[in-house]
């Protein structure tokens, strides 16, 4: 049977249309955008057009887009860049306890270098309370960095409200929108955010490319040094083919937005409904309402995630898990921990992230497979 990929929160296949857009930039239009000859000029045309597309997709000005190598670099640049440049105003940063490691570990790094970080906890549905963010604000707070949507449980945070409270106090707000782009409408001015990270490979674009939106007038320091690429904020020859592919993926995401969201939401609700109905002791992780249209994260009592994942893989089904046993660190997911789950509940959690190409028939096949696999594992579980 045809394999089923339902791990789009990890990465996506590159859309053939994106590949077509990129192809000439490997062999024909291969110039360095910094060169003055016609090769460089052609590359610059592609670069500028891409910047225009990415900017307009999020309601930004092209000058406000810095191309990077992806979400992790964008997060690093945003957080370290703001921290270094604004440390004379204060050395306090606010974030949440369910951020992506790219944010959490950058914050932890800054803590070792004289900055203080407050990790505001989410509630048991994985949502941040704006009031508790407000309470964390101090006179020396320079940055609030809160993800737009969570990568594991798909919860969407009240980033607009956080921006309102920050603006009154002159605090910069950064959001990691890597998971939400293409699934939640994003207009940087409507949100009111100062910095926003996005990545190409989660939206059917190539890996190794992303962007950081930096609102005009934001004081930020470069964190890598070299040539004067990307207005001196991000040195290094631009990855033109990747950037062109990223821009094409952004265009497609915009054009297909309504259809994609409707399709994904219907598949998501069908799967959540069928799983909770047909498998006893299964529970949804994370809020149902404030949730990405493609995220299904369910915990199954008495069974362990890696075992489920491997048995699904044997049936050609790819998903992911928050179980410690599947992680190289052997630590359970900090996101599931933040929801207040007991260790055995975290071990039995599966994340299914749907994509454009998934069908109802596939959704039903995965639920059938889950029923069989969980039955088999529970039959050998001493806890069941």
């Amino acid at each position: 049977m045809k394999p089923i990929y339902m791990d789009h929160g990890s990465t996506t296949a590159v859309d053939p249309d994106v590949v077509r857009a990129m192809t000439p930039y490997f062999t024909e239009i291969f110039g360095n955008a910094s060169s003055l000859h016609s090769y460089g000029e052609q590359a610059t045309v592609g670069l500028n057009a891409s910047r225009q597309i990415v900017a307009s997709a999020i309601g930004a000005h092209p000058d406000e887009i810095i191309f990077t190598s992806g979400g992790t670099e964008s997060d690093n640049l945003a957080i370290k860049g703001i921290a270094y440049r604004n440390q004379d105003r204060g050395r306090h940063i606010i974030t949440s306890n369910i951020e992506h490691p790219a944010v959490l570990n950058t914050c932890a790094y800054l803590e070792k270098h004289g900055f203080e970080v407050t990790y505001v906890p989410v509630n048991d549905r994985g949502l941040l309370d704006v009031e508790s963010v407000k309470e964390a604000v101090r006179d020396d707070t320079i940055l609030i960095t809160v993800m737009h949507a969570n990568n594991e449980i798909g919860t969407i945070q009240p980033i607009e409200e956080i921006c309102i409270l920050a603006r009154d106090k002159g605090i910069y707000v950064h959001t990691d929108a890597v998971q939400s782009i293409g699934k939640v409408p994003i207009d940087v001015n409507r949100i009111g955010v100062d910095l926003l990270s996005i990545s190409s490979h989660k939206i059917y674009g190539p890996k190794g490319v992303g962007a950081l939106y930096i609102r005009k007038g934001t004081n930020i320091e470069a964190i890598s040094h070299g040539g004067s690429h990307e207005r001196g904020i991000r040195a290094g020859t631009e990855n033109i083919s990747g950037i062109v592919g990223f821009a094409r993926a952004m265009e497609l995401a915009q054009a297909r937005f309504d259809g994609d969201c409707e399709h994904l939401r219907s598949l998501r609700d069908r799967m959540i409904g069928n799983i909770l109905k047909s498998i006893d002791h299964s529970y949804l992780n994370g809020d149902l309402e404030q949730r990405l249209v493609n995220n299904v994260n369910i915990r199954f009592s008495y069974v362990e995630g890696e075992a489920m994942l491997l048995l699904l893989n044997n049936k050609g089904i790819a998903v992911s898990t928050g179980s410690a046993c599947s992680s190289k660190s052997l630590k359970p997911s900090h996101v599931l921990e933040a929801l207040g789950l007991a260790p055995e509940e975290m071990h039995g959690s599966l994340r299914i992230t749907l994509g454009r190409e998934n069908t109802e028939a596939e959704a039903d096949r995965v639920v059938e497979a889950l029923i069989e696999i969980i039955g088999k594992l529970r039959a050998m579980s001493p806890l069941a």
């Binding site: 008495y302 069974v303 362990e304 995630g305 890696e306 075992a307 491997l310 048995l311 044997n314 179980s323 410690a324 046993c325 599947s326 190289k328 052997l330 359970p332 007991a342 260790p343 055995e344 071990h347 039959a379 050998m380 579980s381 001493p382 806890l383």
Partner: protein
Amino acid sequence: MMYNEKVMDHFTNPRNVGDIEDADGVGEVGNPTCGDMMTIYIKVKDDILTNIKFKTFGCGAAIATSSMVTEMGIGKTLEEALKITRDDVADELGGLPPIKLHCSNLAADALHKAIEDHMRKKQ
């Protein structure tokens, strides 16, 4: 794939799953925090393990080692079975990923506990 074929075979087609109602000894190891829990049930006749069954909550390695230790133990004398080490189980499976050697390779311990339980009951 992180596991070899033999491990996958024991994981997907585990031998001797279940419990023994009138077991002569029961051994439990692990805890839900670390993600692996095993219960081993044994039947003993004339100091020989005539039957072994297991129930395991855990990852692929935890299930595969449980299955393997039942195969290794059945037919052995209690004394021989007490000499089966964690490494023996991993070796018999053709090796485990290094990260799994400690956390999920508890099956030999569970078997030893079941044998100790049996010896305590006999006294």
